[in-house]
């Protein structure tokens, strides 16, 4: 009989904006298993885990850990009780070494001073024990993403975690790194650790987990042994219908070049070149996908094109107009739209209304003003039309954006960026962290835009999305273009992964083909 190590019984959580994130959710895991927690974005997985880890308070229910009812007042409490968490966004100090990060807050001392060698010893011991290979003396900022994740895991284990929560750990990894992670997790399981694995990738669950709990719209809708169910069963439980994340797409008919980037070089504040002499072009009527492990210069490229970030060398031009020295507004007036990867910081003003958010790139135009006053009638009409057209779920246009779900916030952003007849769309992680419905919708709109003659640069960490939408692909590695793949339809995610990791390379001549006029 397996021993139940943790029970979360009838948990109900309501966020301050009235959103019911969990309703009577019961979640139980056994000692020594890998338990998958599945569900769409917004189903309440992360909230449930934040409650367990003591980050969020809950309204009703109880948590029983090893037969004892507990209530954690914060992560420190949770850690002290043997619960560790690896967040989706790493909680590491980039400028410190691996060993320093691992012992942060529990530093070994010698004569009152920090004992670095002892920290290294602790780290290496843990690494060996759990078979996680990281250089304890390396600086975290120099590590690839996969290794940063290992540091997070080691950090949790050194603090005595018996239950390890991994929040979408594979979202940032290449297929190869994912495979490596799975071996390590299975090893941890053999050593008696219990793992909660959050994901919405079905094949990963099948490959790794013993049991699953599925959440939908804040409720637990199913629990099963992974061996007993098919991927179809799981997906049906997750979304309540069969999902087809397949976008119908005809071959692209590219026309003249819209975006030309030549010899672009961007130096980071640290003095390191983060984008190093890259050149590429995007044509009217095509989607160019940009793949790459995050942090290889993709964000900087999108920010440089849209005017948010300066660059030291090279030229960027849109329809023949050089962007050097142009303000963000001037660049936008050339027809450049930007879906930022960070919708909460750049894409939207959360405390402002849906209407004000949609208005932000056009409020000054003649058609929305009459004399010195803004023309409310025209503005309201325009807003209501977009709310309808982009299926934004809100009570009315005056709703604060922070009251909406992530998917609907992104739809607000997209409604603005896609509705100004763009010549060029820079879509950076357009569907990150949003539900399946909104994802499907946004992908479809991107293809429609392409067919209407917009040039699209799609930057994404989601390889399926890239392969699904792109006509051609470029792969970024360490600030350079590592590969240009002219026909995306013949590429698999494994090949893409090899280019991303730098295992496979192309000649400069092959890469230079993407910089046509």
């Amino acid at each position: 009989m397996p021993e139940e190590i943790l029970l979360m019984d009838k948990i109900t959580k309501v966020y301050p904006n009235g959103f019911v994130a969990n309703k009577d959710v019961t979640f139980s895991i056994n000692k020594g298993e890998i338990h998958a927690l599945m569900g769409e974005n917004g189903a309440g997985k992360s909230t449930l885990m934040k409650i367990l880890f003591g980050i969020e308070p809950f309204e009703e229910g109880r948590i029983v850990l090893k037969g004892k009812e507990v209530r954690f007042n914060g992560p420190l409490d949770a850690i002290a009780n043997g619960v560790g968490m690896v967040h989706q966004h790493f909680m590491l100090v980039p400028s410190l070494t691996v060993a320093e990060n691992v012992v942060l807050g529990m530093e070994p001392k010698k004569g009152g001073m920090f004992d670095f060698e002892e920290a290294v010893r602790i780290t290496e011991e843990a690494c060996n024990k759990y078979n996680l290979k990281v250089d304890a003396r390396a600086k975290v900022e120099d590590l690839p993403v996969g290794n940063k994740q290992k540091v997070e895991i080691v950090k949790a284990l050194v603090r005595g975690a018996e239950i390890l929560i991994l929040d979408e750990p594979t979202a940032v990894l290449t297929p190869q790194e994912t495979a490596e992670l799975f071996v390590e997790l299975k090893h941890l399981k053999e050593q008696g650790h219990t793992i909660v694995f959050i994901s919405h990738k079905l094949h990963e669950i099948k490959a790794l987990c013993d049991r699953i709990t599925i959440l939908r719209l804040g409720k637990s809708v199913g629990k099963a042994n992974v061996a007993d169910v098919t991927e179809q069963d799981i997906s049906r439980m997750m979304v309540g219908r069969d999902v087809v994340l397949k976008v119908d797409k005809t071959p692209a008919k590219p026309e003249e070049t819209v975006l030309k980037v030549r010899d672009l070089k961007i130096i980071a504040d640290t003095g390191k070149p983060i984008v190093n002499d890259i050149s590429f072009s995007v044509r009217k009527g095509e989607i160019l996908g940009m793949a790459g492990v995050e942090g290889n210069g993709q964000s900087q490229i999108s920010e440089a094109i849209t005017g948010l970030l300066g660059y030291q060398h090279g030229t960027i031009s849109v329809n023949g107009v050089d962007l050097k020295g142009k303000s963000i507004r001037q660049i936008r007036e050339l027809g450049v739209s930007h879906v930022s990867e960070d919708r909460n910081t750049y894409g939207a003003a959360l405390v402002a209304s849906v209407k004000d958010n949609i208005l932000s790139d056009r409020y000054y135009k003649k058609e929305y003003n009459s004399g010195i006053m803004m023309n409310d009638k025209v503005i309201n009409e325009m807003t209501d039309n977009l709310i309808k057209e982009f299926l934004i779920k809100c009570d009315d246009r005056d709703d604060q954006v922070k009251m909406l779900s992530g998917g609907n916030v992104q739809k607000v952003v997209v409604a603005r960026e896609f509705s100004n007849k763009p010549a060029l769309v820079i879509a950076n992680q357009p569907t990150r962290g949003i539900d399946v419905g909104a994802t499907e919708f946004i992908r479809k709109r991107l293809v429609e835009l392409r067919d209407e003659g917009t040039a699209v640069l799609l930057i994404s960490a989601d390889l399926n999305e890239l392969l699904e939408l792109s006509d051609s692909l470029i792969v970024m590695n360490e600030g350079r273009i590592a590969a240009y793949l002219e026909d995306a339809s013949v590429i698999t995610d494994m090949i893409l992964g090899e280019y991303m990791l730098g295992v496979r390379t192309q000649t400069p001549e092959e890469i230079a083909r993407v910089a046509y006029d």
Binding site: V14, F19, S340, L350, A352
Partner: protein
């Protein structure tokens, strides 16, 4: 009911509770320190409305606060926490006096108009310093504006002592402001038309912020500066212009106050404090210029009440500062009654969920 409606109602309710609670606490304190608490309390509460002159006094006291309060609203809407209202108000009053006493022969209307313009220009001019420091060097405008206020105070003192001061006067005061340069009194009381100018400024500021494209830029910059920048709004331009507008409005307030209430300019040595009171008014009004008159009225009412109480009982006038402090504390405290609000929202959300499920 949506969570949004609950939140809106809750905000209004919270402000009322804050005021009531502060007054309640104040009354408890009075009943401890006063020999005749009942008289003191009734003087404080009903005193200000007992005579026409006292109501007039409330109006007089609230007038300058409407200007500095509106100035704060505009700056805070853009997240520019400049305190320059204090200095701008003072220098506006000072230079309006200077212009009035040096142009005694002018007719009333042109004289007053030019005095206003001088004061606005002076207010804008002093606001330039912290605003430019912010935009050019990212200097925190809170600190630099407070420091600037001291510089302004000394400039004002200099002008007062060396140019404006009437040695023949029995007190430390400027030359008298010419009769035709004073604002009209209303209803035969001390209250003057400045209150009407103040109301116009509040309404105009409201329209500016909520109904024009310039106001839209300001609100978006305040809501999320990164978002504004990303959308193509020049956020540094907004930082600069809102601070200048704030300075100008406060400067105008200085001129209105001096031409409306005083015969001579007599502020020297210390800051008169209207700018800081403006922050109070702005916070109470939640940065909405349309609520500024209400907030200014509340403050003026309490001050007048304290004045009356001071005269008829043994409670000192400073007592009102305690009440003011308490109100601001409760209003500004984000988490005040947060548990209660959360409970309202949770219950409502549950009810809605059940209704939805029942319907399905």
């Amino acid at each position: 009911m949506t969570s949004k409606q609950i939140e809106r109602r809750f905000e209004i309710f919270k402000t009322f509770v804050a005021v009531a609670l502060a007054l309640g606490l104040a009354l408890i304190v009075i009943s401890f320190v006063s020999e005749s608490p009942v008289e003191a309390i009734s003087a404080f509460i009903t005193g200000p409305f007992q005579r026409a002159t006292r109501i007039s006094n409330i109006i007089e006291v609230m007038t300058p606060l409407m200007f500095t309060g509106t100035a704060i609203c505009i700056m805070y809407q853009a997240n520019q926490f400049s305190m320059i209202g204090e200095g701008a108000f003072l220098i506006g009053a000072n230079l309006a006096t200077w212009f009035a006493v040096t142009h005694e022969n002018w007719a009333g209307l042109p004289l007053i108009t030019v005095c206003f313009i001088v004061a606005i220009v002076a207010g804008v001019a002093v606001a330039v310093v912290p605003a430019v420091l912010k935009v050019k060097f990212r200097a925190n405008e809170v600190v630099s504006s407070i420091m600037m206020n001291y510089v302004i105070l000394k400039i004002s003192d200099y002008i007062f002592y060396y140019i404006l001061r009437d040695v023949a006067s029995g007190q430390q005061a400027s030359f008298p402001i010419p009769k035709q340069g004073k604002l009209l009194k209303m209803f035969g009381l001390r209250m003057h038309v400045g209150v009407i100018i103040g109301l116009i400024v509040c309404v105009a500021a409201y329209v500016f912020i909520y109904r024009t494209k310039w106001g839209y830029q300001i609100r978006m910059t305040g809501a999320n500066m990164n978002f504004a920048k990303y959308s193509g709004i020049s956020v540094m331009g907004i930082a600069l212009s809102t601070q200048l507008i704030g300075g100008g409005i406060a400067g105008l307030g200085g001129a209105v106050e001096i031409l409306g209430r005083y015969d001579r300019f007599l502020w020297f040595g210390t800051q008169p404090g209207f700018g800081f009171d403006g922050v109070l008014v702005g916070v109470l009004a939640k940065n909405n210029p349309l609520l500024v008159p209400v907030a200014a009225f509340l403050l003026a009412y309490m001050r007048t009440g304290a004045d009356v109480m001071n005269r008829v009982s043994d409670v000192p006038v400073e007592f009102v500062d305690v009440v003011q402090g308490l109100i601001i504390l409760f209003v500004a405290a984000e988490m005040f009654m947060a548990k209660y609000r959360h409970k309202l929202i949770v219950n409502n959300a549950k009810k809605q969920l059940e209704a939805k499920e029942a319907a399905e």
